[in-house]
C-alpha cells in the first residue's frame, strides 16, 4: 500500500467536495478550510435500471471502448468543414424525394397524429405542388395515403419548424469537404405568417412560388459562379458578432448575403428581380437560419453510426414527439418522448395557451453546440433566457457538463474564446439530470396562423433514458 497519499492529505490543506447535506460544507468553511458543495441530483432520476445501466457502461473495458468511439465521433463533428456548394430543387438533389413525397421535421409521424402547425404546412405544400386546388382538398389528399410522409432527417435533410419540404422547393446544398457527405435544407420564408409555422393562405403560397421561380434559381446561378462558401468559417465569425445562430442571425445573414452579392449581381436576372431578392433578405434576420442548420446536419451526419458511441447526433421535434438519434445506433433508430412547451416572450395578442408544442429540426444547432448552447455569444437576446447576461453565460457553461469536448473552430468571446460545448453524451445527461437547452421559435397550435413567439425548451428526459437502456444492450 502506498501510504503517501494519506500522509499528503495530513500535510496539505483540506479542500472538500461535499455531496448531500449542505451544512457540512458550511461547517468546513467556518473552520477556514475549503469546501465545494455539489448541485447533485440522483443519477437517472434515481431509477434503479438507469443507475445499473450507467454502472455497466462504466465497467473499465466498456468505458474505454466508449471513450474511443466518442472521441472519434466528436473529432468528426469538429473536423467537418461544411461548404455551401449550391441551391437546387429538392426533386433534383434530395435522396428518395418524389413528386408526392413530403418531408417533415422530427421523428416519424403519420398525418392523423400531426399537430396543427404541421398539418397547416403539409396542406399548404400540397397546394403549392399543385396536388390539390385548395386547402380543403389538400386535407383529403393528405389523408388519402397518396402522399409519402418521411422525416427530413432520414433524407440527409433538416427542416425548420414544421420542416415541410416538397419536390419543387429550392434547397441549400451543403457538402462536407472533410468527409464528403452532403446535407440539405430549404430556404427561409422570412416573416411570421409562413408555411413552416403552419400558415397556408394565398400570401404564403404566392411567396413560395416566387421563391421557386426567382429567389431559388437566382441563388442557384449565383452559387454556380461562386463555387463554394466556407460556412464553418462564417459561423465562427457570426458568433463573434453576437449571434448564437438559432434565434439570432443578424450577423450571419449579413455575412452570407455579403458573400453571395457579387455572384447574384452576375446572374442573368433583371435588376428589379435582384432588388426583390435583396429586399426579401433584408426583411428578416432569419435568412441564414436554415443555412446554419444544414451546416450542423452535415457535420453531425459525419459522426453518426460509430459503433459504441454514446454521442447524440440528432435532436428533432415534430410538434408531438421529441426524438433523438445516437451515433452508436446506426441508421434511423429514434428514441422519443413527448414534445415540451416552449417558454418565452410572445408576440402581442397571444397567450401561452395559444402555443403549439416544441417543433422543428432546428435543435440540430444545439446538437452541434450553437443555439441555446452558445447563448453566451449573444447577449442581445438574453431576454429569451431570463434577461441577464449572467444567465446566458450559465446556459453555455452548464452545457459543458453534458458534452465531451469544446469545438476550437467555433468560439465564444465572452467566455475567453472557449469553444462551444460539443458532443452531447447521453451518459452525462442521465448522470447529471441536466438536459440540453434549446432556443426556439413558438408556432401557434392551430393550422394557418404562424409564429407567435420565441423562448427556450428542453427535450423530454425519457428520450435519453430509452437511448441509454438500448445502448447498454448493444454495447459489449
Amino acid at each position: 500500500m502506498n501510504m503517501s497519499k494519506i500522509n499528503e492529505l495530513f500535510a496539505g490543506n483540506i479542500h472538500a467536495i461535499n455531496v448531500g447535506i449542505e451544512f457540512f460544507k458550511d461547517d468546513i468553511i467556518k473552520q477556514n478550510a475549503n469546501a465545494t458543495h455539489l448541485e447533485w441530483k440522483p443519477p437517472g432520476g434515481g431509477k434503479p435500471e438507469l443507475i445499473r445501466a450507467l454502472d455497466r457502461l462504466e465497467n473499465a473495458a466498456l468505458a474505454d471502448k466508449i471513450a474511443a468511439a466518442n472521441k472519434l465521433a466528436v473529432e468528426r463533428i469538429i473536423n467537418s468543414q461544411p461548404m455551401l456548394v449550391g441551391f437546387d430543387q429538392a426533386i433534383n438533389v434530395v435522396p428518395g424525394m418524389t413528386k408526392t413525397t413530403i418531408l417533415h421535421a422530427g421523428p416519424p409521424i403519420t398525418w392523423d397524429k400531426m399537430c396543427g402547425a404541421m398539418k397547416g404546412a403539409v396542406t399548404g405544400a400540397i397546394v403549392f405542388e399543385g396536388l390539390a386546388k385548395d386547402i380543403e382538398e389538400a386535407e383529403q389528399v393528405a389523408a388519402s395515403g397518396a402522399i409519402t410522409f418521411s422525416p427530413c432527417h432520414e433524407h440527409n435533410c433538416v427542416g425548420s419548424m414544421a420542416g415541410v419540404t416538397s419536390a419543387s422547393m429550392f434547397m441549400h446544398v451543403v457538402k462536407n469537404k472533410t468527409y464528403g457527405n452532403v446535407a440539405y435544407t430549404n430556404m427561409s420564408e422570412q416573416m411570421a405568417k409562413i408555411l413552416r409555422m403552419g400558415a397556408n393562405d394565398e400570401s404564403v403560397i404566392t411567396r413560395l412560388n416566387w421563391m421557386r421561380d426567382v429567389l431559388g434559381p437566382m441563388l442557384r446561378d449565383a452559387m454556380k459562379i461562386a463555387g463554394e462558401i466556407d460556412l464553418r468559417l462564417m459561423l465562427a465569425q457570426a458568433l463573434h458578432m453576437g449571434d448564437e445562430c438559432h434565434n439570432r442571425n443578424n450577423a450571419g445573414t449579413s455575412l452570407l448575403i455579403q458573400a453571395l452579392t457579387p455572384h447574384i449581381l452576375q446572374t442573368d436576372f433583371t435588376t428589379e428581380q435582384k432588388r426583390e431578392v435583396f429586399e426579401f433578405v433584408a426583411s428578416s434576420d432569419y435568412f441564414s437560419g436554415p443555412t446554419w442548420m444544414a451546416l450542423c446536419k452535415c457535420a453531425l451526419d459525419a459522426a453518426h453510426g460509430i459503433e459504441n458511441s454514446t454521442i447524440v447526433t440528432t435532436m428533432a421535434r415534430n410538434g408531438v414527439e421529441f426524438g433523438i438519434r445516437v451515433s452508436g445506433m446506426a441508421g434511423n433508430t429514434w428514441f422519443t418522448g413527448p414534445a415540451q412547451k416552449v417558454i418565452g416572450p410572445m408576440f402581442a395578442g397571444y397567450k401561452p395557451e395559444d402555443s403549439g408544442l416544441d417543433i422543428g429540426d432546428s435543435a440540430i444547432t444545439e446538437t452541434y453546440g450553437i443555439g441555446g448552447f452558445a447563448m453566451a455569444a449573444a447577449p442581445a437576446i438574453v431576454a429569451l433566457v431570463g434577461g441577464t447576461v449572467e444567465e446566458a453565460i450559465g446556459f453555455s457553461t452548464t452545457m459543458k457538463e453534458i458534452t465531451t469536448a469544446e469545438n476550437p473552430n467555433v468560439t465564444i468571446p465572452l467566455l475567453d474564446f472557449q469553444g462551444v460545448a460539443t458532443g452531447i453524451d447521453i451518459r452525462q445527461v442521465i448522470q447529471t439530470g441536466i438536459l440540453p437547452v434549446i432556443n426556439t421559435a413558438i408556432a401557434h397550435k392551430d393550422a394557418g396562423i404562424g409564429m407567435i413567439g420565441a423562448g427556450i425548451t428542453y427535450p423530454p428526459m425519457e428520450a435519453f433514458e430509452k437511448a441509454l437502456l438500448a445502448l447498454t444492450e448493444s454495447i459489449s
Binding site: K5, F10, I14, A16, G20, E39, S283, F347, T388, A454
Partner: protein, 515 residues
C-alpha cells in the same frame, strides 16, 4: 375603450427584448392589449392582425419604436404607459456578482478543482456507493456519512481505496478530524500529538474532547464506520489508519476506539498494534484486556481512561492533570433523596457509544440492564417504546430514527420519551447526553429545558425527587458555548457529569441501594 399610441423615432431595441417587454406590459393591471415593437413591416402586419394599426403607426419607420396600449379607459391607458416607460429604465436585478460555480458531479468538480482532496458524501444510501467510487476514481479521499450501504459495496470500496492508498472512512462514518478540520459531526479540539482511529463516532468524539480537557491535542481523527471491524470487512480502514498515523511525524500516540471487534479482526488489528513503533491505546468497549496487553498495547476500560493514558503517553505530567474524580459526597446526597422504590436508571442517548459505555458500566453492577443495542438477546428490549428495569436507549439507532432525523438534530422523539420516563415512580435517575459541536443542534439543552422543568415539577408534586443527570459533550472552543449550556442545565436542577465515563458511573451509583 382607449388606445394610446407613442412612436419614438430612431430608437432601436432588438426584437427579443421588445417581445419580453411586451409580455410584461400585457401583465400590467388594466391593460387590454399592449404592443411594444420596432416599426417593421412584419410588426405592422401583427398590429393589423390584432386590429391596432392606425395611420400614425402605418407611417412608422423600421428604425422607430412603436408603443401601443389599449385599456378600458383613457386613465388606465395613461397609467399603464407610465409603467411601460419604467420597464425600459428598470435595470435587471441580476447583480449577483461572481456567483459560486455549481458542479453537478464529482467528476466535473474534481476536474475543475485540482486542489480538491476529499469528498464528503451524505446522499441517500441507494446512491452513496456509486458516488464514493467516483470520488476514489478521482483520487479523492472519502468520508462516507451515508448509511444503508451494502456490506459488499463497503468491502469493494475499502479494497479499492486500499489499493489506491486513499482513506475510505465509512459508510456510516459521522466523525473525523483531518488537519484540525472537523468533518460532519465533530468538536473543536486543540491540535496536538495524538492520532485517533475510531469505529464509533460519538466514542471518538468523546475521546477527542477528553484529550482536549486533559490538556492534550489531536493530530488526526480517522473514522472507519461502524462495520469496519466486522468479520467481512476485516478492519481494512482501521489497519490502514494505524499505518498512516504511524507514518505521520506529528503523531506520537495512537488511540483505537471500537465496539468489540470480531475475534479474527481483533487478532489482525492487535497484530498491527504489536508491529507499531508508536504507543497504541486500545479502547474496545467491554474489550479483552489480556489480549491488548499481550500485543503491547495500552488497555483502556473507558473513554476517559483512553484519553488519560494517551495524554500521559504523549508526555503530559499525570500529577498536573485534573482527572475529575467521582464526587462521592454528591453520590451519598442523591442516594439519600431517592425513595426505596426509585431503583432504576433510564438513559436516553443521542450518542451511540455514550450509551454503550454507560450501559457497560451499569452491567458491572446490575444484571437487569436492558437496551435496544444489547448484544445479549435476553436483555435486548422487545418493545423499544417501553422501558424495563435499567434501560439505556441509543435513540440515534435505526430502531428509533427509521427515516426520521437523528435526535442530535431533531430532539422531539427524546423529549416525548423523557416525559414518559419521568412519570415512572420506579425511576431514580434519568441520564441524558447533550452533544455540542459541528453538525449538532444549535441549542441542544435549550430544546430540552421546558420538559425538564415540567418533569421536575410533576415529581415534586408527587412527593418524589427525580434525579436528572446530564452530560454535555463539548469543549470550551465549541459552539454553542459549553459553559452556557451547562449553566442552563444546572439552573434547572440538573446534575452535571464531567465526562461520558463519569456519567455512566454516577448514574449507576446513584441507584445503588443500602450501601
Amino acid at each position: 375603450m382607449s388606445t394610446k399610441v407613442v412612436i419614438k423615432q430612431s430608437t432601436y431595441f432588438d426584437s427579443v427584448s421588445l417581445m419580453s417587454l411586451s409580455t410584461k406590459a400585457n401583465q400590467i393591471e388594466g391593460v387590454e392589449q399592449a404592443v411594444i415593437a420596432m416599426g417593421t413591416e412584419m410588426n405592422k402586419e401583427v398590429l393589423k392582425n390584432v386590429g391596432l394599426l392606425t395611420p400614425e403607426l402605418e407611417a412608422a419607420k423600421s428604425s422607430d419604436l412603436m408603443i401601443v396600449v389599449k385599456a378600458a379607459t383613457e386613465e388606465l391607458a395613461e397609467s399603464a404607459y407610465v409603467q411601460i416607460e419604467e420597464l425600459f429604465t428598470k435595470k435587471k436585478g441580476g447583480s449577483k456578482g461572481a456567483s459560486e460555480i455549481k458542479y453537478p458531479t464529482i467528476d466535473s468538480a474534481a476536474a475543475s478543482i485540482p486542489e480538491a482532496n476529499l469528498a464528503i458524501i451524505s446522499v441517500n444510501g441507494a446512491f452513496a456507493a456509486r458516488e464514493a467510487r467516483k470520488a476514489l476514481e478521482n483520487d479523492l479521499h472519502v468520508m462516507l456519512f451515508s448509511d444503508n450501504v451494502s456490506i459488499e459495496d463497503e468491502i469493494a470500496l475499502k479494497q479499492y481505496a486500499h489499493e489506491k492508498g486513499l482513506l475510505m472512512m465509512g459508510p456510516d462514518c459521522g466523525t473525523a478530524i483531518i488537519n484540525g478540520v472537523a468533518l460532519c459531526f465533530g468538536n473543536a479540539v486543540r491540535k496536538g500529538s495524538i492520532g485517533i482511529v475510531g469505529a464509533s463516532g460519538t466514542g471518538s468524539q468523546e475521546v477527542s474532547v477528553r484529550i482536549h480537557d486533559f490538556g492534550g491535542g489531536i493530530t488526526q481523527l480517522i473514522g472507519t464506520g461502524g462495520r469496519d471491524l466486522s468479520e467481512q470487512v476485516g478492519g481494512i480502514m482501521m489497519i490502514d489508519g494505524i499505518k498512516a498515523l504511524e507514518a505521520d511525524a506529528a503523531t506520537k500516540v495512537i488511540v483505537l476506539i471500537s465496539k468489540p471487534p470480531a475475534a479474527s479482526v481483533q487478532e489482525k488489528v492487535l497484530a498491527q498494534v504489536k508491529n507499531c513503533t508508536k504507543p497504541v491505546v486500545v479502547y474496545f468497549i467491554g474489550g479483552d484486556e489480556e489480549a491488548v496487553v499481550a500485543a503491547g498495547g495500552h488497555f483502556a476500560k473507558t473513554t476517559k481512561e483512553a484519553a488519560l493514558k494517551a495524554v500521559v503517553l504523549a508526555g503530559a505530567n499525570e500529577d498536573e492533570i485534573n482527572k475529575r474524580a467521582l464526587n462521592w459526597p454528591l453520590i451519598e446526597e442523591v442516594r439519600a433523596k431517592l425513595a426505596p422504590e426509585q431503583k432504576y436508571v433510564r438513559g436516553l442517548f443521542c450518542g451511540g457509544t455514550l450509551c454503550d459505555e454507560a450501559m457497560y458500566l451499569a452491567m458491572e453492577t446490575f444484571a437487569d440492564v436492558y437496551s435496544n443495542i444489547q448484544k445479549n438477546p435476553d436483555y435486548k428490549l422487545k418493545n423499544i417504546h417501553e422501558s424495563k428495569a435499567h434501560t439505556y436507549l441509543d435513540m440515534g439507532d435505526d430502531d428509533f430514527t427509521n427515516g426520521k432525523p437523528h435526535p442530535m438534530i431533531d430532539p422531539s422523539l427524546r423529549i416525548a420519551r423523557f416525559l414518559q420516563e419521568a412519570k415512572d415512580p420506579s425511576v431514580g435517575v434519568i441520564l441524558m447526553d447533550f452533544i455540542l459541536g459541528f453538525g449538532s443542534h444549535e441549542d441542544p439543552v435549550g430544546v430540552m429545558l421546558p420538559a425538564i422543568v415540567e418533569a421536575k415539577a410533576q415529581a415534586a408534586k408527587a412527593g418524589r425527587h427525580l434525579e436528572i443527570l446530564g452530560y454535555v459533550m463539548g469543549t470550551d472552543l465549541d459552539t454553542p458555548n459549553f459553559d452556557e449550556q451547562v449553566k442552563k442545565l444546572m439552573d434547572a436542577g440538573v446534575t452535571i457529569a464531567s465526562s461520558s465515563t463519569n456519567a455512566g458511573l454516577l448514574a449507576r451509583e446513584f441507584v445503588v441501594k443500602g450501601a
